[in-house]
């Protein structure tokens, strides 16, 4: 088994008993924090499909998080709390947004691609900011927790944790299959050398766009979870700063490995939480820590593991 897969299985095994450990420690709130980390792990995984496997540096990925969150928020405000409706709506909206903006963005490369995805992300941000019926700039409280065919999957922090963990495991397994499929190999090939891929008969655009849409759709699932986790929906979910954090999570953990982004997101959210408890000026040491981690662990956290063997 590959190192990346083994590290992931170990990570799942460590995560599984965590809520019990936290309540034994008398810190059940940590389960809530860890759940938030797992939600971002799903978002970071989705970003890694295009960033790590497709070399598409999207600086607007938070838009998909927001689309998922608003799908849950707007539907709940209109009395529809069932995930059986919310999730398909979130996936369809994210997929449509990704296909339209991706079809335009993917005509560019490099810095231009970064800028144009940033622009689309900010457009989504300002659109939701101006939507006064749904809280506008201030956001809105989630009218009701999402349900699933009448059941209450987010009813307790314990249940929320395990539902999120199960979703994370499922999405990890799905992306593992996708990245090892015919499609995944073509995507990796276009990352390595686009001209070579054209010379053997592949037109990269369709593969890139498909990956871009899959990535956006998966991020919207994290958005639905995030809305429930915060019991709140706000345009700030979609801002460029959030997109930047997601890139940092992927790079910190190790691009193009699937396990890396999960580790990166957990490390990111947990150290953010820990430093915020120590000092109100936590952003300064946090920024320094991220810079050092990226500098000294080539290939991210997973790369550090690999290097030690």
């Amino acid at each position: 088994m590959r190192l990346s897969d083994r590290a992931m299985l170990v990570t799942f095994a460590v995560l599984l008993p965590m809520p019990a450990l936290f309540s034994a420690m008398g810190e059940p709130f940590l389960t809530v924090v860890l759940t938030r980390a797992l939600i971002f792990a799903i978002a970071a995984l989705s970003l890694d499909l295009i960033l790590g496997f497709g070399a598409m540096v999207s600086f607007g990925h938070a838009a998909y998080l927001g689309i998922g969150a608003y799908a849950a928020g707007i539907l709940a405000a209109n009395g529809v709390t069932g995930l059986e409706v919310q999730l398909p709506v979130a996936l369809a909206a994210a997929g449509a947004f990704a296909l339209v903006t991706g079809a335009i963005s993917l005509r560019t490369r490099g810095v231009h691609f970064i800028m144009i995805t940033l622009a689309f992300g900010q457009m989504a941000y300002f659109l939701m900011s101006s939507l006064s019926a749904y809280g506008g700039d201030d956001g809105m409280a989630l009218a009701g927790r999402s349900t699933l065919f009448g059941a209450d999957p987010f009813g307790s922090s314990l249940r929320f944790f395990y539902v999120t963990l199960a979703l994370l495991a499922g999405i990890w397994a799905l992306l593992r299959a996708v990245t090892r499929s015919r499609f995944g190999r073509v995507l990796t090939g276009t990352r390595e050398n686009e001209t070579r891929m054209q010379a053997i008969g592949f037109s990269p655009f369709g593969y890139r766009l498909t990956a871009y849409a899959i990535s956006g759709m998966i991020a919207s699932v994290a958005g639905v979870l995030l809305a429930n986790h915060a019991a709140f929906v706000s345009p700030s979910y979609m801002g460029w700063a959030r997109s930047g954090e997601m890139i940092a999570m992927v790079v910190l953990g190790g691009m193009g490995t699937l396990t890396g982004p999960v580790l990166g997101a957990i490390a990111f959210i947990l150290s953010e939480e820990a430093l915020a408890r120590l000092t109100t000026h936590w952003r300064l040491p946090f920024g320094a820590a991220v810079v050092l981690a990226v500098l000294f662990t080539r290939g991210g956290l997973l790369g550090a593991l690999r290097g030690r063997r």
Binding site: R180, S181, F183, G184, R185, N193, G201
Partner: protein, 250 residues
């Protein structure tokens, strides 16, 4: 019979400079057709137009009788035009086998398949391994392409081209940058392909060209000044004056 590759009146200018000036030639099925010319004659521009990375201003390119002048590089590749690059172009992060298996995959069914593990598709792997062996890289299957020696990367490019099962193979200076032993191995390899594929060879090594080619076209300042057998080219007064005259022993 229609030729494998037919070039008619190909013209390309960069500002005032005519880099391709009405170039016409045919490559017969199974022929190895070399294109030679001094530096700056427009050889690279010609091969870019043939492969589709550069659009000509005028003229037509026919592959097996079909007009491919307006097709993208990828579409030409799918119709049977393979190329190697002057500067080695491989997928460095993938293994040698994966590099070649992708070329097989490109012509065998849809690549919009998302769940089945591609590494287990034995049809792809078997054909890829065969092409690697034909290019002299048997045993290198699992090596990362980026760690191969320069000569081996050249061989890998040929393996990728073979795996495409092309009608026409464009070889753009396949010997460039290779050492003496490496280039000898590559020459053997190209000689072994002769007759099985239609090949357009652009190469600076005159000894190699005259030994390998069925016919040679001479390009000078964007014009083809002569096309003929190696013997005819050697004897051509115009060619000697324009090009070979100043090369001793050519």
């Amino acid at each position: 019979m229609t030729p494998a590759l037919s070039v008619r009146g190909l013209t390309k200018s960069f500002d005032a400079l005519k880099v391709s000036d009405g170039i016409s030639f045919d490559v017969a099925w199974g022929e190895l057709h070399a294109i030679i010319g001094p530096n700056g004659a427009g050889k690279t521009t010609l091969i870019h137009q043939l492969s589709g990375s550069l659009a000509p201003d005028a003229g037509r390119i026919l592959l097996g009788g079909h007009d491919i002048t307006r097709l993208s590089m990828a579409a030409r590749a799918r119709r049977g035009l393979a190329r190697s690059f002057q500067i080695t172009s491989i997928l460095a992060g993938l293994t040698a086998l994966e590099n070649v298996a992708l070329a097989v995959q490109a012509r065998s069914g849809s690549s919009f398949r998302f769940l089945r593990q591609v590494a287990r598709e034995s049809a792809l792997n078997d054909q890829a391994a065969e092409a690697l062996a034909a290019a002299g890289l048997a045993g290198a299957e699992d090596r990362s392409a980026g760690t191969l020696s320069h000569g081996e990367k050249r061989q890998l490019e040929i393996a990728i081209a073979l795996a495409m099962q092309p009608k026409v193979l464009l070889l753009d200076e396949p010997l460039a940058g290779t050492g003496h032993r490496e280039s000898a191995a590559l020459l053997d390899l190209i000689a072994g392909l002769k007759g099985r594929l239609s090949i357009v060879l652009i190469e600076h090594d005159m000894e190699a060209v005259f030994a390998l080619a069925d016919r040679i076209s001479v390009l000078v300042y964007g014009r083809l000044i002569a096309t003929g057998t190696p013997d005819a080219i050697r004897a051509d007064a115009q060619v000697r004056a324009a090009y070979l005259g100043d090369e001793e022993g050519a």
